[in-house]
């Protein structure tokens, strides 16, 4: 039951298993059929399940989501792909005004068991619109669940949970990790609400998700060389956030760094920090720190490394939170990324 798979392949496996498990599951998206998707995540699925259930759609994102809503109306459980993060915005209206609200609007009469998959995040050295992190938009949208994954196992189990959920789920796939391998146990189930503590540490809590988890774990190793213990939390669920787990950690460590690739302003890290401050103000021994994309459009890929949370930037934030010497020591402008 356990097998080594790349993260992208683990998602493909989850999709295939979901198609097997429930005949009302259908996949739809641009190039997902014969091509198997631009990242080959759906490779082989159309050949296996036929064109009626693995549908190459015309090039129109609002329609991809909007017709999936209609399928859900008819009792289907559609899993649609948006080819890249940067192409989700044409579907924004259907996501915000329909997908997120139909259950609420109809007092539960209409179910929206829709999964919207999209590769997200940077570090693939591509051109504009191919490296974005739009999760904050969805986190701000009541009625949606927003999840990601940091390993093949998480990717498999979370995708199965997302498809099985009667709630609409935005599944952001960390595209830079599609080729990262790991063991996958297909019997392992997981929910859509909880974070996971990846490393125990007494000095500081570092909360992140998706592609940043690897960096956070590297930071944890690097910090331990200096005798500093990071408690790395994989948030997994971006909305709702598992604030309890983070608060419990901060109550031990007293310090918090939150990292993601998305810009900082009105983002998931703003939310997590505010939520922690609201619930664990007394436990905080220093101001929480953010390590995020800057509040600029996504830059040319040649310099995306300077834009994205890096090992050094996380360590620098850890230093700041711990009151150690950091890049900002002695700076005229004090304070965080705001």
């Amino acid at each position: 039951m356990t097998e080594q798979l790349a993260l992208g392949a683990a998602i493909g496996r989850a999709l295939g298993d979901a198609l097997d498990a429930e005949e009302k599951t259908v996949l739809m998206g641009e190039d997902i059929g014969r091509l198997g998707g631009v990242f080959r995540v759906t490779d082989g699925l159309q050949a296996r399940f036929g064109k009626a259930r693995v549908i190459d759609s015309p090039l129109a994102e609002s329609a991809i989501v909007g017709t999936a809503v209609g399928m859900a109306y008819r009792g289907y459980r559609p899993v649609v792909e948006i080819q890249f993060d940067g192409f989700v915005y044409p579907a924004f209206d259907q996501i915000v005004t329909q997908v997120a609200r139909l259950r609420y609007r109809t007092k539960g009469q209409v179910r929206m068991p829709l999964t919207i998959r999209m590769p997200y995040g940077g570090s693939i050295g591509s051109v504009e619109h191919h490296s974005e992190s739009p999760e904050s938009y969805f986190a701000h949208t009541a009625g949606l669940r927003v999840v990601t994954a940091s390993s093949p196992q998480e990717a498999y189990s979370t995708m199965r949970a997302a498809i099985a959920s009667d709630d609409p789920v935005m599944f952001l796939e960390p595209k830079s990790k599609y080729w990262t391998k790991g063991d996958v146990d297909t019997t392992l189930e997981r929910d859509l609400d909880t974070a996971a503590v990846l490393t125990r540490g007494r000095d500081i809590t570092v909360a992140a998700y998706g592609p940043v988890i690897r960096t956070a774990l590297d930071a944890s190793i690097a910090a331990s060389d200096e005798g500093i213990e990071l408690e790395v939390i994989d948030l997994r669920s971006i909305s709702p956030l598992d604030v309890d787990t983070v608060v419990a950690s901060v109550e031990r460590t007293g310090r918090l760094v939150v990292a993601h690739e998305a810009p900082a302003e009105a983002s998931v890290s703003s939310e997590l920090i505010t939520s922690v401050v609201e619930r664990a103000f007394g436990a905080l021994r220093s101001a929480p720190e953010r390590v995020t994309g800057y509040d600029t459009p996504y830059p040319p890929s040649a310099i995306e490394g300077d834009y994205l949370p890096s090992l050094d930037r996380i360590l620098d934030a850890v230093d700041r939170a711990l009151g150690r010497r950091s890049s900002r020591t002695g700076m005229a402008l004090t304070g965080g990324v705001g």
Partner: protein, 372 residues
């Protein structure tokens, strides 16, 4: 300027040059090559039913209008003038065909058995949806212009996957023709040969904007560019609407794919109860359309066929009075929902976050009540 570029031709769809009709404003019945084959079962009973249905639709509308003026509803988008378009199209469907309406299809809701309380609840501001879509095979009203066209198309695509022969119908307005969603719906419907009917009530206005702002050509020309055939009919002729919709539904049901029906009609009232049409249209125009009134027309037709219309009118009156009473009762009995329902049905499995907010809200309300 070049004349070498061909102009759009009027041969793409039936009725592009002049809407197809079988009942003329004076009540006379005319032959139509396209429609007549779909009207062979029309008899006095059916015509009488239509008359009663349309009378009820009009009365429901008037009553709701009055209730709004009295402050019982927050808003009402009247259907006055569009009774034939709504009744004729709705009557062409099977009970299991699924309707995706916009916000003005009150007649359809009534025909589909929605009770007055359900019909009015949304417009009282008491709920976001007044009925169970599955009990009536009728989606909850859609306010986002054009959005429902995609839902209907997706629903229709799903019926094909099912292998079922149910049909979906999307109601849209003339304004909706411009939205990206509507056009994308036609793309998907065409590509997947979806059993969907696009039923466009061209009531000449999108709020204040006359239809020419959306299109310089008949709206029925649009779908033809997507490879979707279209029928353009006199929307105040209930029989023409019935026949056109039947054609479209039959095509859909038998694997022929989507069809577009443009029902040329007129919004005789304001856009909603808060609108003031005198700012953007002339009285003469309304008077002109008044002469084409769909109910008067049918009554004339019945009369000219020798039917005792006073009896029918009386029968309709009784039913109308009853429904009007029911509406007033429903409004009187309606109550504001519990505030804590704000937190219901946000997710299938409630999240801690929303449940926490619910608890905080309840505690807050209790504390305020405790104070006063």
């Amino acid at each position: 300027m070049s004349t070498a570029v061909p102009a759009p031709s009027a041969e793409l769809a039936a009725g592009l040059d002049r809407p197809l009709a079988v009942l003329h404003p004076d009540g006379s019945r005319h032959a139509d090559a396209v429609l007549d084959a779909y009207l062979t079962d029309v008899d006095e009973t059916m015509l009488t039913d239509f008359y009663v249905d349309m009378s009820i639709a009009r009365r429901v509308d008037r009553e709701a209008f009055t209730l709004t003026r009295q402050g019982s509803l927050v808003l009402w988008p009247p259907l006055l003038g569009q009774e034939a378009a709504q009744i004729g199209s709705c009557r062409a469907l099977r009970d299991t065909d699924f309707l995706f309406g916009s916000y003005r299809e009150h007649a359809i809701a009534v025909m589909r058995g929605v009770d007055p309380a359900g019909l009015l609840a949304v417009w009282q501001g008491n709920t976001l949806s007044g009925w169970d879509p599955y009990s009536h095979h009728l989606a909850t009203p859609q306010i986002i212009i054009g959005a429902q066209t995609l839902h209907a198309t997706g629903y229709a695509m799903a019926t094909r996957i099912d292998g079922a022969d149910d049909v979906a119908i999307a109601y849209l307005g003339d304004g909706a023709i411009s939205e990206g969603d509507t056009n994308e719906a036609m793309v998907f419907a065409s590509t997947f040969s979806a059993p969907v009917v696009f039923f466009c009530q061209n009531n000449q206005y999108a709020i204040s904007e006359p239809v020419r702002v959306q299109s310089g050509s008949p709206l029925a020309l649009r779908p033809t560019g997507f490879g979707i055939p279209a029928l353009r009919v006199d929307g105040n002729d209930v029989l023409a609407v019935l026949a056109a919709t039947r054609i479209a539904v039959e095509r859909a049901r038998t694997g022929g794919g989507p069809t577009f029906v443009e029902a040329v009609t007129y919004r005789m009232g304001p856009h909603t109860t808060t609108d003031d049409p005198t700012r953007y249209r002339e009285d003469e125009e309304a008077a002109e359309w008044s002469a084409k009134d769909p109910i008067v027309r049918l009554e004339r037709h019945l009369a000219s066929s020798g039917v005792r219309t006073d009896r029918i009118r009386e029968e309709a009156q009784v039913r109308c009075d009853q429904i009007a009473r029911d509406m007033r009762d429903a409004v009187a009995e309606a109550h504001t929902p519990e505030a804590a329902t704000i937190f219901d049905h946000v997710h299938a499995v409630p999240t801690q976050r929303v449940e926490r907010q619910r608890a905080e809200h309840i505690a807050f309300v209790a504390s305020v009540e405790g104070e006063s």
